[in-house]
Structures are given as structure tokens and as C-alpha cells.
């Protein structure tokens, strides 16, 4: 069943490929704004780079979510999926997987470029890529909870951020800290393990919560 759902999502995403670029352009644009606001000083940029990259990745994922859920909500597809007996948690899982594959992965691919522009130290590249790989699936799943709660609202965007951003704090802490530790030449496997633990936890809990939220939103 999940394969059928994934196939459908991928086909839909494929039909509007241009939208896939938006979160990536947003990601690059916002990170590039920081040197203007802070300072072009390489040493300083190196210091803030891990945090900037992580925060911008979180925001980009958050902004990419709307079309993935809202279209299905507005045209009644969501109702039809539920009427077919598809578990709402499964719908969320399929959407989150697509969200990760088509938004988070491209972000991770361009992140070394941002790293170079922000003068991230060479030793931190792998820490950045691996921490993003481990952290972004949780980001997608937690965002799915917020999105499922707000998909029925016409102006859900800012509310989504208000609901979801506080929940991102642990992921941000461990993600950025892994990169920081690598910058300073320390071991960062501890932080990565925490990210992995959070991932296991969100994979087992978030689809359930988001599914319940989705059912509530549909009964609007």
C-alpha cells in the first residue's frame, strides 16, 4: 500500500518539478543573507556556519510542506484515501518520505556549497552532511504533525511555524553541535547517536500523531 502511495506522490511531484527548486533557492538565499547581516569576516562566518546552515535547513523544509498536503486536502483526495481504508498514519509516512527525498536530500546536496561560502572548516563537511542526513527525516516527520493540524486552515503558514519550531530545538541542538564539534576537531559521534535516537523516536510516534491530526482536519 505504501508503495502505491509513494508512486502517486512521486508522479505528482514529477508533474510540477519546478516547485522543487524553490526550497533550495530559499535555502541558498537565506544563508547568503547572513554575511550581509553579520560580517563577511571569514573567521566569524566559520563560527556561525553550523548554526546558520541548520536553521536555514529547518526553515526550508518547513516551507516546502504546504503543497504536499494542501492540494490533497483541497481537491478531496485525502477524503478519498481515507474512504479507501488507508490508515492516516500511512498517508503521512508516505508524504514525509517524499518530502525528505525531494526536499531534504537536495538541500543536503547543496549544503557543501553553502559550507564553502560560509568558510566552514574542511573537517566539518562530513559532520554536516551526516548530521543533516540523520536529522532531516525527523524534521520532515515533526513538520508533518504541524501540517496535519493546520492543513484545514486557510492561513495556516505562520501558525505551522509557531507549532513546529519549538519542537525542533533538540534536533537543532544536536545537529549544529555535531558540526561545531567537528570544526573544533572533536569527536561528534555522541551527537549523531542522539540524532539517530530522535529519529527512531519520531519514526515510531510522529506518523501516529500526524495521522490523528489529519483525521481531525478532514472532519472540518
Amino acid at each position: 500500500m505504501i508503495l502505491t502511495l509513494l508512486k502517486r506522490e512521486i508522479r505528482l511531484i514529477n508533474r510540477k518539478r519546478s516547485e522543487l527548486l524553490n526550497p533550495i533557492v530559499f535555502f541558498i538565499l537565506v544563508t547568503v543573507l547572513f554575511p550581509f547581516g553579520v560580517s563577511p569576516e571569514p573567521a566569524l562566518l566559520q563560527q556561525i556556519a553550523p548554526g546558520v546552515i541548520w536553521v536555514c535547513a529547518l526553515l526550508s523544509v518547513l516551507l516546502s510542506l504546504d503543497s504536499l498536503y494542501r492540494d490533497d486536502f483541497d481537491d478531496g483526495s485525502l477524503v478519498q484515501l481515507l474512504m479507501a481504508g488507508v490508515a492516516p498514519g500511512l498517508i503521512v509516512l508516505a508524504k514525509s518520505m517524499c518530502n525528505w527525498l525531494f526536499t531534504a536530500i537536495p538541500l543536503i546536496i547543496v549544503s557543501p556549497l553553502i559550507g564553502i561560502m560560509l568558510n566552514l572548516s574542511d573537517s566539518a563537511f562530513w559532520a554536516m552532511v551526516v548530521s543533516l542526513l540523520l536529522g532531516t527525516p525527523s524534521v520532515c516527520l515533526i513538520a508533518a504533525i504541524g501540517m496535519s493540524l493546520t492543513v484545514g486552515l486557510r492561513k495556516g503558514g505562520i501558525l505551522l511555524a509557531l507549532l513546529v519550531l519549538p519542537l525542533y530545538v533538540p534536533i537543532l541542538i544536536f545537529g549544529a553541535m555535531a558540526v561545531n564539534a567537528a570544526t573544533m576537531g572533536q569527536s561528534y559521534s555522541g551527537q549523531l547517536l542522539f540524532l539517530a535516537a530522535i529519529l527512531v523516536f519520531t519514526v515510531s510516534m510522529a506518523p501516529w500523531a500526524a495521522g490523528a491530526a489529519l483525521k481531525i482536519s478532514v472532519s472540518e
Binding site: 509557531l162 519550531l165 519549538p166 541542538i173 490523528a212 491530526a213 481531525i216
Partner: protein, 245 residues
């Protein structure tokens, strides 16, 4: 075991009248408790060796911080009861918790930063506990915003309850991660603020204050729930009779 009391709680009318009867007594107890605690804590208890009278802000700060988390737990548990047993009254309680909890959180933040100014030399540092409190405040604000944004009240109840449950699962993780982050970022000198094993002479007024704050929560909760109940049940017969009287 007789569960009828539990389902009685589910009746808005019963709860409304019960809360109305108990309200004055709980307020009276709250005032007695707060007065005793304040006098004891602010006047009788000894001043701290290092911080002097400044430390007395603890008697407000610690109970407020404790209550800010306690109220969130009540809110999430009530929300869960609402979802599991489809009990209206549990939702009303859950929704009434968030403004009160937000107020306690705000109080804890304000007293915390007032305490911080003389001890740390600044109103705000990203101290682990203060930061967790700040995030908690955002969780409360999100809960209220979500409830108010959804037009259909029944859906708003359920959505906000789901959010409260998601929040309660996350709070320990957030708290732990912030503490971990903080211990690496902040110089160790701050840890002198960690309460050393507290002296009995300070412990008693603090405990009294914590209990009184809990009573204060109940005294605030009752009118909130009663109002909420009247608003939500405004079409039912008993509310209209109540209003006429």
C-alpha cells in the same frame, strides 16, 4: 470499584455547579497559603549567605516554574482523556489550562530574569532552565493559537489535545537537550546558582508556596472552566436557566 464519580466529572452541569460551590473555599485556602508562605519566606526565613535578600525571589520563581510544567501535564492528560473517552468536560479543562499555564510560565521567566540581573549582571542568559521555560511558553502560545484558529469548536478541542500530547512527549527531550547544550556552552561558574542542598528553614516556606501555587492554579482553573462551559453549552437548557437566575 465504582467509576460513577469519573463519569459525573463528564457532565458539564454537574462540574459547573460543583466548581461553583467549592470555588470560595479554595480561594480562601489559597489566600491563607499564599499569605503564610509569603510572610514566612519573605520576612521570617533567613537570608541567603551569598545572595542576601535577593534570594527570596526564589519563593515566587520556583513555584511558578514548577507550576508551569505541572499545568502542562494537567493540560495534556485532560486532552488525552478527552480523546480517549470522548469527554467534553476534559476538553474544557484542557483548553482552560493553557492561558493559566502560560501565565505561570511568564511569571517564572520574569522573576528568573529579575533574579538574573543582579546575579549574572544581565536580564537574560541562555541558562538551561530559562531557555526551557521560554520554549514552554511558545508551546503554550501555540496551543492557544491553534485552538483559536480552528473555527469548529469540536475540531479545535481535538486538534489542540493532540498538540498538547505531542508537546508533553517532547518537553523532556527539549529540556534534556537544552541542558546538555547549555553545559557545553556556559562557563561552569553559573552552576553556583544550582541550589545547594537547601536548608530546612528555607525548605518549609518553599513547600508551602508550592502547595499554595497549586491551590492558586485550581482557584484560577475553576472560573476559567466555568466560563468556558457556559460559552460552549450556551444553547443547553441548564445554562439558560442559570443565566436567567
Amino acid at each position: 470499584m465504582n467509576w460513577s464519580w469519573f463519569f459525573k466529572l463528564g457532565s458539564p452541569k454537574w462540574f459547573y455547579q460543583m466548581a461553583g460551590r467549592w470555588q470560595p473555599w479554595i480561594w480562601a485556602l489559597t489566600f491563607i497559603g499564599l499569605a503564610t508562605g509569603c510572610v514566612w519566606g519573605l520576612a521570617i526565613a533567613p537570608a541567603d549567605y551569598y545572595q542576601g535578600d535577593l534570594q527570596r525571589i526564589m519563593y515566587i520563581h520556583v513555584p511558578a516554574a514548577y507550576l508551569s510544567m505541572f499545568v502542562y501535564v494537567v493540560m495534556a492528560v485532560a486532552g488525552a482523556i478527552g480523546i480517549i473517552w470522548r469527554m467534553k468536560m476534559a476538553y474544557y479543562v484542557s483548553m482552560s489550562c493553557s492561558p493559566i499555564g502560560a501565565a505561570f510560565t511568564f511569571l517564572a521567566l520574569v522573576t528568573g530574569s529579575l533574579w538574573g540581573k543582579p546575579t549574572w549582571g544581565t536580564y537574560w542568559v541562555f541558562d538551561a532552565r530559562l531557555t526551557s521555560e521560554l520554549i514552554l511558553l511558545f508551546l503554550y502560545l501555540g496551543h492557544m493559537a491553534l485552538f483559536n484558529a480552528i473555527e469548529d469548536r469540536k475540531n479545535a478541542d481535538r486538534a489542540a489535545a493532540v498538540l498538547a500530547i505531542v508537546g508533553i512527549v517532547n518537553i523532556p527531550i527539549i529540556h534534556f537537550s537544552v541542558e546538555w547544550w547549555n553545559s557545553l556552552h556556559q562557563p561552569a561558574s553559573l552552576s553556583k546558582l544550582e541550589k545547594p542542598s537547601i536548608d530546612q528553614s528555607m525548605l518549609w516556606p518553599l513547600l508551602i508556596m508550592i502547595v499554595s501555587f497549586k491551590l492558586l492554579f485550581v482557584s484560577l482553573l475553576f472560573p476559567y472552566v466555568r466560563n468556558h462551559t457556559l460559552w460552549r453549552e450556551k444553547d443547553s437548557q441548564w445554562v439558560q436557566q442559570e443565566v436567567e437566575q
